[in-house]
């Protein structure tokens, strides 16, 4: 069996192997977060993919949709396929990634994600939608999954004293990726647009190449610490405390523990609530405050939510290093419950400021949920297989990605069909989201240390 130490492929790609990424004396660990950010800032683009939807409905008609042009409903599948393949690739490549190390994983992610754009460009050029599904959806989705989990274990190993802050920094990049991609995509489409071309092909090629290079830079910078390395002044705790273990649980064994499923539920419910409203934020703000929030202002509101989503990832993950992961999630669920329940009230009193403020706080906790989970997993299952376990847990994200928007959309439709005014149609949705967070609170409350029978033997940990 190939082990982490033995995994050296040789040849021209040997520089990608784990053995070639071991840091030499003098390497600063603060170079690893920017390496991780190189990947996450790129793959976070997925949150901004919707900016291509409308232009891609006019590839033939240019100024308006022609009968042979793609429909919005068909284009919506590109994002969904990408998110499904994000979850699947993260789940299935976690163990491989753990073996080959972060550089090869980041390199693979760069090829997949950048390559996905290039294949999609060909699909747009030939007007073959299946090529776009295959390119951005399947190939790009695999790049998303591999890229998302690749730096997590490396960062936790470099920052055993502050694992939440370290992973929070990287995963913050995923939230920030959309802030860059959205204006960049619009600018590039304007640049490549001609009277007979909407500019999507050129934009896809350019973005694919930019992302590939940017992610490769991360792959070049990243290093793993030498065996036995620890930060100055850091002494690993000899005894476990509360939910923080000093042992390690194998990835296959982790799936047999109730803790894995409790955390799966915790992540799924936190994401379901957040993603549901994030997808509807623009329409919701305009319908709750008719005549007071324009479409342009609503797009500003969505951007603001993305910003707080990003900031929350760093803030909450860093805070969790001091107050504990379980307590952090308790805050997410308790405060989130109160805020979701209070959102309809902001509509009743007509306060845009409170509405925006409540949603901004909610979004920090949505992002914080993503960013704090790797450190939570490290606390509960140990460091050895945290990357692979994190990969498996991300299937909760894929599930929530379907569940959240479906809940919000269908409940809203049902309300409107029942004659409820549009301005009030979100009230029941908000109360249901608050209910989901209550269930999440209970699941998190039930978290307890993993039974010792699931722990690995110390001699097997480094094999």
């Amino acid at each position: 069996m190939a082990t982490a130490v033995q995994a050296d492929s040789g040849g021209i790609f040997s520089w990608l192997d784990r053995t070639h990424t071991v840091a030499k004396p003098g390497f600063s660990r603060w170079l690893v977060p920017p390496a991780a950010l190189c990947v996450h800032l790129c793959i976070g683009q997925v949150y901004a993919f919707s900016v291509f939807n409308l232009p891609m409905t006019k590839l033939i008609g240019i100024t308006s949709s022609a009968p042979d042009d793609w429909k919005l409903t068909e284009l919506g599948w590109i994002f969904s396929i990408a998110i499904v393949f994000l979850g699947l690739s993260a789940a299935f490549t976690g163990t491989w990634l753990d073996r080959v190390g972060p550089r090869k994983a980041m390199f693979t992610a760069a090829l997949c994600f950048g390559g996905g754009f290039l294949v999609s460009a060909l699909g747009v050029h030939l007007h073959q939608l299946w090529l776009v599904y295959l390119g951005y959806g399947v190939l790009g989705g695999c790049g998303l999954g591999i890229g998302y989990i690749s730096p997590v274990k490396t960062l936790i190993t470099w920052f055993p004293d502050r694992p939440g802050m370290a992973t929070g920094m990287a995963i913050m990049g995923f939230g920030g990726g959309a802030l860059i991609a959205s204006p960049l995509s619009v600018w590039l489409m304007q640049h490549f647009a001609t009277p007979d071309n909407v500019g999507v092909t050129g934009t896809f090629i350019t973005m694919g190449l930019i992302y590939m290079v940017f992610m490769m830079v991360g792959a070049v910078i990243v290093r793993v610490p030498a065996k036995g390395w620890a930060p100055e002044g850091y002494v690993a705790p000899a005894q476990p405390k509360k939910l923080i273990t000093t042992a390690n649980v194998h990835v296959d064994e982790a799936l047999k523990t109730p803790q894995f499923y409790l955390l799966w539920g915790v992540l799924c419910l936190n994401v379901t609530a957040g993603i549901g409203v994030l997808g509807q934020a623009s329409a919701m703000s305009q319908e709750m405050f008719p005549g007071r929030i324009s479409a342009l202002a609503a797009s500003g509101f969505v951007g603001l939510l993305s910003l707080f989503n990003m900031l929350g990832r760093f803030f909450w993950a860093s805070t969790s290093d001091y107050i504990g992961r379980r307590n952090t999630y308790m805050i997410f669920f308790a405060l989130g419950l109160a805020l979701y329940a209070a959102v309809p009230w902001t509509g009743e009193i007509g306060s845009i400021v409170l509405f925006v403020a409540f949603y901004c706080v909610i979004m920090t906790m949505y992002g914080g949920g993503f960013a704090t989970i790797p450190a939570y997993l490290k606390d509960v299952f140990g460091t050895r297989y945290v990357g692979a376990i994190h990969g498996r847990l991300l299937t909760a994200w894929s599930t929530a990605g379907v569940l959240g928007p479906v809940l919000v959309n269908y409940i809203r439709e049902y309300q409107i069909d029942q004659g409820v005014p549009k301005a009030d149609a979100y009230s029941v949705t908000m109360y249901i989201m608050a209910g989901l967070l209550l269930v999440g609170f209970i699941l998190n409350y039930l978290m307890h240390p993993v039974d010792k029978r699931h722990h690995m033997n110390p001699e097997d940990v480094n094999s």
Binding site: A23, P25, G26, F27, S28, W30, L31, P34, A35, L37, C38, L41, G173, G176, A178, L179, I180, A181, S182, P183, V217, I221, A226, K227, G228, W229, A230, P231, E232, G233, I293, S294, L296, A297, S299, G300, F301, G303, L304, S306, L307, I352, V353, V356
Partner: protein, 45 residues
């Protein structure tokens, strides 16, 4: 038992590498934040 190794790096070369790496990721991120805030101002006008 594995001996614990500590490296505390204070060299000038590393400071330059750190500055370059953080600038490389920081500039596009700040550009994105600037654009977002510019658009968000419309919400309160």
């Amino acid at each position: 038992m594995t001996k614990t190794i500590h490296h505390e790096d204070v060299s000038g070369a590393n400071t330059i590498k750190l500055a370059l790496a953080w600038t490389f990721v920081g500039i596009p991120l700040l550009w994105g934040v600037y654009h977002t805030l510019t658009n968000a101002v419309l919400l309160f006008k």
